[in-house]
Symmetry: C2
Subunit: 198 residues, 2 copies
Amino acid sequence: MTAPRTPTRNRRAEILQAAAELFAARGFHGVSIEDIGSAVGVSGPAIYRHFSGKEALLSEILLDISERLREQGARLVTEPDAPAGSAYARAALDALLRGHIDFALANPALIRVHERELDNMPEPDRRRVRRLQRLYVEEWVTVLSELYPDCPPARLRAATHAVFGLLNSTPRSAGELPPEAMAPLLHGMAVASLAVLT
Amino acid sequence: MTAPRTPTRNRRAEILQAAAELFAARGFHGVSIEDIGSAVGVSGPAIYRHFSGKEALLSEILLDISERLREQGARLVTEPDAPAGSAYARAALDALLRGHIDFALANPALIRVHERELDNMPEPDRRRVRRLQRLYVEEWVTVLSELYPDCPPARLRAATHAVFGLLNSTPRSAGELPPEAMAPLLHGMAVASLAVLT
DNA sequence: CGGCGATGTTAGTCATCATTAACCGGCTCG
DNA sequence: CGAGCCGGTTAATGATGACTAACATCGCCG
């Protein structure tokens, strides 16, 4: 059996997930390596067999989140040969919304970490995450500028951040509503709020 | 001159403000007492002449924010003898929105701290802050239930959290738009997003 | 004047942590 | 079989950082 192979892979993933949840709950500096270790049943320095340090954990978590969001966005927006029509743009916005909402509802802890811990990341990786975030925002802005051509980009960007705030409220309204009810609510609210950009 | 009186009052306020800004920028655990001291020109343990400890600083900051929001909300909603009509409710919602938006635009750092640092507060005060937050949310829910009587409370609460997320996006979209443009944009987006509750 | 309360200062003290060292069992592969 | 890596373990080690002690200044009030 590939006993050593698979378990190793699992350990890494387990650690990342546990770390993400702990960071979400108590913040990067509020969590010790020992905490992370015992969350996965090993103790303390065992973490260093899988990651070079605490910051490396955060880097990997944040890069993964940013890449997932950006890549998802890029896939949805760039895939067809983009007739650049208003109808196409509406569908693209819909896809962006759906993707972001699904992610936020499925991973409230990751959303929280993504929103709060950028500053605690080591410089080179922080820049990469910021770049990915910027690209993701620009995808939204591109789609929105198709739908609201008279709206200045700064306004579109501000509105995009506002919509992200709305969608990323999932960690705070956890449990109020089941996801099946939450998703359409957020979708509807987002679309309606963007309609004021006309 | 009242040299000792006024300076003291100022020091306290100075410290609170500096601490709030530092907490907003680097997180509670990312800031040392020494940092806070030097931000106001004294060094380190001088802080203990004004506050009993680091947590006391956070407590005072968060309690102040929560109280300001709640009190502002209560004032606007409870003041007249509440004819309980839809027109009155619309005005109340408007007032709540205006109050929250003004606060968020004037104090992005405080909004950030309020959103991120609840967990780092000592237990008894944390409960008080949570209570104030709950009361504030319930004020919104009360007004909204007047406007959308067929909407179940859980849905109203979820929508309220979503709107808070939208309004509290100010720290992230800082600088995109001047406040004079930001305020009506957020107001419009919030009102429009809530209209889906019908 | 003399003392005292409010504010600071600098030098500990004590915990907490990230990270490293030194050591070990077991699985695989030659 | 046996060498070696993989993943763990438990003890340092070294910083950092909250908080306390002991001592200084200074303006006011008696």
